[in-house]
């Protein structure tokens, strides 16, 4: 899932990265590491901030809410995205299946699957990562 973690980094850094073609596998572990590390840093920043406006001091508290994603949940969502993809036959699909060697996809299909993952997890990334940026 180096490819996925790179896509994630794209979303947070807003700079398009080249998707790795070396070993596109349906594994959620690398994805999980990336997500969890970023989640942890967001949760560490749960703070309340005070804002002074003009003469009066108005205290505002903002909490960054982070929804939790567990590894089995991520795996399930990844598998669902792959199953929903019409070019993949669901019976051949496992966590270990290789997009190109086992499932017979070409690199354009690979791009499509990665984009579908981005759509799937985009909301989660938007609410949690982009808050951290500002």
């Amino acid at each position: 899932m180096r490819a996925l973690s790179k896509t994630l980094r794209f979303v947070s850094a807003t700079a398009p990265n080249l998707v790795s073609k070396a070993a596109p596998k349906v594994l959620a572990t690398g994805f999980q590491h990336c997500l969890l590390s970023q989640l942890a840093s967001v949760q560490n920043q749960l703070t309340c901030c005070q804002v002074k406006i003009n003469q009066r001091s108005v205290q505002q508290r903002t909490y960054a809410g982070a929804t939790k994603l567990t590894l089995p949940e991520i795996q399930e969502r990844v598998m669902n995205v792959c199953k929903a993809y019409d070019k993949i036959t669901a019976d051949k699909l496992t966590l270990e299946s290789h997009f190109m060697n086992d499932l017979g996809l070409d690199s354009l299909d690979h791009v499509e699957v990665i984009m579908a993952m981005e759509d799937e997890f985009g909301e989660f990334l938007k609410t949690n990562l982009l808050k951290r940026l500002g």
């Binding site: 398009p16 080249l18 998707v19 690199s107 354009l108 791009v111 499509e112 984009m115 759509d119």
Partner: protein, 94 residues
Amino acid sequence: MKSIAKNLKYKDMGKKFLTLKQFMLRQDVLKLYRDVYRMTRSIADQRQKNEIRSWAASEIRTHRNHQDEVTIRGLIIHGQRMLKDLEKSLKVTT
């Protein structure tokens, strides 16, 4: 062009490698496809969205067997031009 790896024959163990130029060309093609994908995200009509995407994919696939780098570069530029037109027409409609 994406099958360039298939058409190249190298002596070591039948593995196919791309030169840097070929690799960059391939990445440009994939980037083009990804840009089409992102641009069509904002289209509400599902049928139209999928039509544009599959049209782009089929165009790329018909030219997959080219070997000459100049031809491939020309096709990529043609695709980028079409992408710009798509962007303009999307801006008008939304």
